[in-house]
Amino acid sequence: MAAPIDEPAVRHIAKLARLQLSEDEVRRYTAQLADILGYVQQLAAVDTANIEPTSHALPVTNVLREDVPGPTLTPDQALANAPQREGNFFGLPKVLDQEDA
């Protein structure tokens, strides 16, 4: 069973998601997230002792496509909903270098 949602957990998740939450929001989201997870937690009541674990709900495998290029969006379409546009780039406040892949 996963750890219960408490205020430190919500602050941690908010930090990971680069969200700034007020104290009031932390309390509110803690309660909301705990409610949601509590609801899902009902599943724990099901006896799964003799059930093989799966990673997917569908009994489907090997859905692959051929390596053939298809149509792409134009930059105007791609950037249509961008909060800020810099030429044909998405624009944002300066972020520090942090390489990940």
């Binding site: 290029p69 406040p93 300066k94």
Partner: protein, 478 residues
Amino acid sequence: MEIHVQLATRSKMFCACLVEPGAPPNERVCPVCLGMPGSLPVINRRAVEFAVRMALALNCTVARFTKWDRKSYFYPDLPKNYQISQYDLPIGAGGHFRISTKEGGDRTIRIRRAHLEEDAGKNLHEGLDHTRVDLNRAGTPLLEIVTEPDLASADEAYAFATELQRLVVWLGVSEANMQKGQMRFEPNVNVSITEGGREFRTPIAEVKNLNSFRSVRNAVAYEVDRQRAQWKADHGYTLDQHGKMNFGWDDVRGVTEFQRGKEEAHDYRYFPDPDLVPVLFEPDWLSEQAASLGELPQARQARLRESIGLSEADAATITADRATSELFDTAIAAGADGKVLGKQFINFWSAQANAKGVSIAGLGVSATRIAELAKLTAEGIVSASAAAQIAEKMLGNEESPTAIANREGLVQVRDESATQAWVDQAIAANAQAVADAQSNPKKKQAAIGFLRGQVMKLSGGKADPKLVGELLEKKLSE
């Protein structure tokens, strides 16, 4: 070591956008790689094949069942706020790969895993007060390879990186162009120090995104020195105290730069991607893939060394790329003597290739013509030095080496009477050398060498050195 290899597919990992480095910004994007709500990823078959082939070549066990996981983190170049990767069931695991050491031995480096994932986009902020994001690269297939901690020095890291690149290019799974970032290395470096019967381990430094072999070697060497010095100054500078840290590499100044420590470590919250179903490999298909890998570069290098007697370095040069090594094999099959051909590859074909900035195969000279030149040399029809001149004239045309040798007067004269005349002439003109050769044991060898040179000179380089030697010896002993 962690390595990211951009796979040479035409389209992206989970969408049909063309992979095209250098395309204008945000012109190779679609709802899938932009992470638009409601879009669904579909796996690129070729990327999976490339990953399997590479995993097999690294002697990994390929999973019968592999799945996709979301690795959550938040960064502007990652539109979905998660990267599709493989967490607990990578395509390949438990492999090994051999490298040659500087000292002439070899070492086996264990491969922990090889898994598929998607690349991020690019943030650009150089010289700007804000950040620009280009998502063309987002979704490009990457194969991440992770070794066990078996690399013991900067030189071994370098050897591993170069050897891995040769394999990747050989298999055609990536162009592995380092400047273009198609192959990126991240060494995880720490040092074990024993003092007073106690072992200390310095904190692990992960140096991110190295994109040249030189920077791999230099960054590892720099970290080893830095960590040793820091531990000397403060014995509390240990892995237990500090954990793992991330560093960048400043290639200009030749130093690493601290980026973040363990307290800021990511918490990726991996979970199975519900949008992608697992991939199951049929044993028959896996066997087919394994069988079609063919002879890998290390095996071919060993074969040239053992069956032809080439040196390790020469065999490595000839097997540096697949096309060149195939050119070599084809020329042998066409009748070239292996030793002579090996010498010619090393002595002049590779020099010409280097001068043009291509591989030997890239010179575009056919195996038949290359074999013919080796045969002319082996049979003594042209001398070794004449062969080099002929080779130069073989570029950019289809003329046969025999025709070039005839036209340029480079065919060795093996006519005995003509050669005898040059020998007589040389002997008549160099009385002192003749006297030394005949009666001064100390100077005999040098004098004969000198006379031989005079004969070759008189012949305009066309005399057969072997015949000259025989005739000289006979004349001097008269």
